[in-house]
Symmetry: C2
């Protein structure tokens, strides 16, 4: 890759056309990692959506503190092994779980309203 | 895979040994996706660490609002294409960027203290 051909013109990463060449390359990698994360999360949420539906069918509560505690411990250990700040991993999981639990509550409420319309439906 | 061998005993996902079989399998997938995300983030932060050092060397500020705006627009579009809530993608990026900027500030402060010890060093 040629590096000295006017980085101010050929820069392709988003947002900062005047960024120096190395910064530009690093940001392209960050953009690639972020794309990967978005796509993994999209699949993760398809599954947690199904978990929410299943919990509603089984009458289980949207949040599960034991499961969350175990997830936190596991991810902190993984983060530590990968030289990522374990506190960051924990905060990130909390952020994701908060969103998921909110969705599970929405599913449960939706199912409850369905019961109002059709009281014979099983919960 | 045999599914009816007492799911209450063979359950392997973290935290909820008594979870029904389907819930158990879904959670194993969630755990796998979370592991992937942790490992990608570990690599992403190695790169953003280098971005922070480079910004400090070049005297660039830790935060870059134009770059962040462009990242948000890009990730919202990717999320939308992947059927992930674009607002969630935006909130997640903000969460990550807040951590990264805090790290960049720490790098800059560390470099500034080095200047105090050795005032001849370039910033």
């Amino acid at each position: 890759m040629e590096r000295d051909i006017d980085a101010t013109v050929i820069s392709a990463e988003v947002g900062v056309p005047e960024a120096p060449d190395e910064l530009r390359r690093l940001r392209q990698s960050i953009d690639n990692f972020d794309s990967a994360i978005i796509h993994i999360l999209a699949e993760r949420f398809k599954i947690s959506q199904r978990v929410g539906e299943l919990k509603a069918e089984l009458g289980l509560p949207p949040a599960d503190k034991d499961r969350e505690r175990a997830q936190i411990a596991r991810l902190r250990q993984l983060a530590d092994d990968a030289q990522l700040d374990p506190q960051f991993a924990e905060d990130l999981l909390s952020f994701i779980v908060t969103t998921v639990v909110r969705n599970h509550e929405r599913i449960r409420e939706r199912d409850s309203s369905a019961d109002l319309v059709n009281p014979a439906s099983t919960r």
